[in-house]
């Protein structure tokens, strides 16, 4: 019962985030220099479309009514039309989601798995030379500019030792179905996934290390040791289970940084996802797409934070009291 109330409350908190994001967008459009209708319709829109946009957004109406219309408009999922393709922005975005999801999902999964594994491993001996070295490397790792690291990977594995592809998601002359197709995509994924992992893997190493070391210092660990559980069970079954809870929460908070990394990575590797689309929209000054991307990305991050909170509540019986 309590849990259901918590879930409901937490879901309701999604509303103000959506509201703030849309209002922020609206204010920025109004503060920006230049004609609003041109921003919304595109600089070389034909007069008929321009008139339609003016009518739709109520640009001759008072400010608050404009805001209201804008909220309704965006709230109903209408993010406008792209300048270039004349397609609805939302459709354009949704079309690109799978490629980005593949890239972000793979690199996040690997980051969490590898980062937690290394972090747990060094948490057993906090203060050792190994611990200091790994912690140092982890900090250095999340200081790496992801786009530069991508370029260096290309330089190394495509230019110097040409063993991996650096462009796109598939080969032009590769197979279009079956295991060959999957293998082709996998080969194309290696470098971008490796580059994108630098954004988060260091964070997970450190997080897992601190978290596991904290849990190992708790009294209940002394209890399970006194009961006689072997050290491996203490670490993997008891400490790790409790230590993973903070890792779960950070997953949501990290997503903003990882999506940023994805935009830059996709640009470097010409990966046909959202990031690449945003980059092209910027080059073409396709404002509706950029605004749409901002809204979608913000809501994705908010949604991820909502989901991680709910997962946390499900995993930790102490939540929601």
């Amino acid at each position: 019962m309590r849990l259901r109330r918590y879930v409901l409350l937490r879901v309701l908190q999604f509303v103000p985030v959506t509201f703030v994001v849309i209002v922020l967008n609206f204010l920025l459009i109004h503060l920006a220099p230049g004609d609003i209708s041109l921003l919304l319709a595109g600089e070389n829109a034909d007069p008929a479309y321009l008139a339609l946009v003016r009518e739709k957004f109520g640009l001759d109406k008072p400010f608050l009514e404009q805001l209201w219309r804008y909220l309704i408009q965006i709230g109903s999922g209408d993010l406008g039309l792209s300048f270039r393709s004349r397609q609805p922005v939302l459709d354009e975005i949704l079309e690109k989601v799978p490629a980005t999801l593949l890239l972000v999902g793979t690199s996040l999964t690997l980051s969490v798995a590898i980062g937690t594994w290394i972090g747990t491993w060094i948490a057993r001996r906090p203060g050792s030379t190994l611990d200091s070295a790994v912690s140092f490397a982890a900090v250095a790792l999340f200081s790496v500019p992801v786009f530069w690291f991508g370029l260096m990977l290309i330089l190394l594995f495509t230019v110097e030792i040409p063993i991996l592809p650096a462009m796109g998601m598939t080969s032009l002359d590769g197979p279009r179905s079956g295991p060959g197709y999957i293998l082709d995509i996998a080969r194309h994924m290696v470098l971008p996934v490796a580059a994108l992992m630098t954004v988060s893997v260091g964070q997970y190493v450190r997080l897992a290390r601190t978290s596991v070391a904290d849990v190992l210092g708790e009294h209940f660990i002394t209890t399970v040791r006194a009961i006689g559980f072997p050290e491996r069970t203490v670490l993997h079954h008891y400490a790790l289970r409790n230590a993973l809870l903070p890792v779960v929460t950070v997953l949501g908070l990290q997503l903003g940084l990882v999506l940023t990394g994805a935009v830059l990575t996709e640009t470097v590797f010409s990966w046909p996802g959202l990031g690449r689309m945003i980059y092209e929209a910027i080059l073409a000054r396709d404002t509706p797409v950029i605004m749409g991307a901002f809204i979608v990305m913000s809501l994705t991050v908010a949604l991820a934070s909502l989901i991680t909170d709910l997962v946390y509540a499900a995993l930790d019986p102490r939540v929601a009291l």
Partner: protein, 618 residues
């Protein structure tokens, strides 16, 4: 400050930052070509003429790198300064005034924290044009909730401090109290986070420039990589060097923030203190007949702290017969709980057993301070929980918070009886719960869902799971109210008699031992200062410390008297110890007590006292 600089990571990153700052400030006077001059031949590799080569327009890369440092540092400083200022103001107002102001403000922080910086910056730059000032402003606008949240929690803790309350009651205005007393004291973590923020700002600007959205007129590392990307095969040095510069500067900022955070946070430091422990020693097991269940000889254990090494258990000897009960009494910090941990061989990472022998039912567990191994397995493993178990002090911490109690007990049962199966485990736990007086329907509860008394009962049930021969109860009732305390002690005592198990009861309360133990050991500063049968110790306490402990007990029946509390601070056993440890607080102390270590005097059957005047007291 000197302490902080001694950490290598901090010193190193401080040097890097100082160098970057010097280079940035000195850029106009350095003997370098104009960073925008297209003077040299293009694509020249690194060499004597151009240390880091030239780019596609024939511009000197080293010079551009140096001028890029200026931009990177400006972005870092300006945006983190605006962000921190905004955060400090809004965070401290929210924390200081609390109530609905705080409610609204902290919700706002949460909402803004969810907006991804980079995408907002992209939007702003796309709408307003690519000026460096917009970039910095946008970074500040999306990052300020970080400092606001930190400041808010700082203010929440600081505003209840005595000096703040004193200033307020002296009539100081809110703004004055905030500006003079609260904000300056709460700034340290903001500064720490500020360095990390600076790194984030630099990377954001670089990423933006890499997408071609940077300030067209500025020399930015990100823009250099953006330009280098197209010539990656022909002139890789165009992208390699600015990227390295970015990596080094941002890593220095992150390492500095991280190092400061650790230096300011003593808890993180303590984690890394470890005591060196002895290697196990191999023995062959030779069974013996009719021996005490536990025999402890000259047990020693130390804690390694930053300043000193504390000898928490310093030469303790006693023995306990099967089915017997021993109370170990002393003030907190006297080493009684450490001794319990040493007997179980489960200690904090910064603790180590340094000497002594322990035998359990004739089997050596510890020989000369080293854990004993029999047939390659540590001897203590063979008896943990099946023959020797423990009841820990506060069950809320001693039980796993995210596992229900039934599951915890099942796992402990199956660990030592893997063949029994879940059903048998459940049946055993149900029986135990009946004995201990926990309703069976509470079996699937989580520790936090149970009352303090119930939790302690669960802990007792856990300790009795495998019908051990010896239970070490470490302050089993300290966290409970007096009524429950009596109930639980009574239950422990009844169980002990019925199951015939031996008990070591560790407590600070003489009254508790009087009721439930046959013998009493009084501990002070790591030593047993008096050991005697319970009746005798209450009748004829031999040590002045024991006398003081007994005198501090209230009696309901006896004659009315003033309860005496013991003055002075407990002795800390570290370094060279001269004379008697209790002498500074002892009402009977003479010169000999301050110069000579007291002898262990046998004053009667099973009664020994560590005092120069043990005979006199008799």
């Amino acid at each position: 400050m000197r302490q902080v600089l001694r950490r290598p990571a901090i010193a190193l990153s401080a040097c890097v930052l100082a160098f970057a700052l010097a280079v940035a400030l000195a850029a106009p006077w350095l003997p370098l070509p104009d960073p925008t001059a297209m003077a040299a031949s293009p694509y020249e590799p690194p060499g004597a003429q151009h240390l880091l080569g030239t780019d596609n327009f024939g511009r000197d890369i080293l010079s551009r790198l140096v001028w890029g440092t200026r931009l990177a540092l400006m972005v870092a400083i300006v945006s983190s300064l605006i962000s921190s200022l905004l955060g400090i103001v809004l965070g401290s107002l929210s924390g200081y005034f609390g109530g609905w102001v705080d409610g609204i403000a902290s919700r706002t922080f949460d909402v803004f924290l969810l907006i991804p910086t980079f995408f907002l910056v992209l939007l702003i730059v796309a709408l307003f044009g690519s000026g460096i000032q917009y970039t910095m402003l946008a970074i500040a606008l999306t990052t300020w909730p970080r400092s606001a949240r930190i400041m808010r929690s700082q203010v929440l803790t600081l505003k209840s401090r005595v000096y703040v309350q004193a200033a307020l009651s002296a009539g100081a205005s809110h703004s004055r109290v905030l500006a003079r007393h609260i904000v300056p004291n709460g700034l340290a973590p903001i500064v720490t986070d500020g360095t990390i923020l600076m790194g984030l700002a630099i990377l954001t600007e670089a990423g933006l420039s890499f997408l071609g959205l940077g300030d067209q007129n500025a020399t930015s590392w990100g823009r250099m990589i953006f330009e280098g990307q197209r010539h990656l095969r022909l002139a890789p040095w165009m992208s390699i060097f600015p990227g390295l510069a970015l990596l080094i500067l941002v890593a220095a900022l992150n390492l500095l923030g991280d190092g400061l955070n650790q230096a300011l946070n003593p808890q993180l430091q303590r984690q890394s203190l470890r005591a060196k422990r002895h290697e196990p020693v191999d023995r062959v097991h030779a069974p013996q007949a009719a021996v005490p269940i536990l025999d402890v000889r000259d047990l020693r254990m130390e804690y390694r702290l930053e300043a000193a090494t504390i000898r928490a258990v310093d030469g303790v000897s006693f023995s306990l017969s099967a089915g017997g009960s021993l109370g170990i009494v002393g003030e907190s910090g006297c080493g009684k709980s450490s001794m319990g941990a040493a007997l179980l061989q489960v200690m904090a990472p910064n603790a180590a057993i340094t000497g002594g022998d322990v035998a359990f039912a004739g089997r050596p567990m510890l020989a000369d301070g080293r854990p004993v191994r029999i047939d390659g397995v540590e001897a203590i493993r063979a008896i943990r929980w099946t023959r020797l178990s423990t009841i820990f002090q506060s069950a809320i911490n001693a039980l796993n918070p995210v596992m229900n109690v039934q599951q915890q007990l099942i796992e402990a049962y199956l660990l030592h009886r893997p063949e029994a199966g879940r059903a048998a485990a459940l049946a055993r736990i149900g029986d135990l719960f009946d004995v201990i007086g926990i309703p069976r329907r509470r079996m699937a509860s989580y520790p936090h869902e149970l009352s303090g008394g119930m939790r302690q009962r669960v802990m007792i049930a856990l300790s009795l799971l495998h019908e051990p021969e010896l239970v070490i109860a470490d302050e089993p009732t300290t966290a409970l109210d007096v009524l429950i305390q009596d109930q639980i002690l009574g239950e422990i005592d009844a169980l002990r008699r019925r199951l015939g198990l031996a008990l070591i009861l560790i407590t600070h309360d003489m009254g508790i031992v009087a009721e439930s133990c046959e013998r009493v050991a009084v501990m002070y500063a790591g030593e047993i200062v008096e050991l005697a049968p319970t009746e005798r110790i209450f009748e004829r306490p031999g040590h002045p410390y024991t006398q003081a402990l007994i005198a501090s007990l209230p009696t309901v029946s006896g004659p009315r008297r003033v309860l005496s509390a013991l003055p002075g601070e407990p002795f800390v056993p570290a370094g060279d110890i001269v004379g008697c440890r209790f002498a500074p607080r002892c009402r009977m102390a003479a010169d000999i007590c301050r110069s000579t270590v007291p002898p262990r005097v046998k004053t009667g059957e099973g009664h020994e006292v560590l005092c120069h005047f043990a005979e006199a007291a008799r």
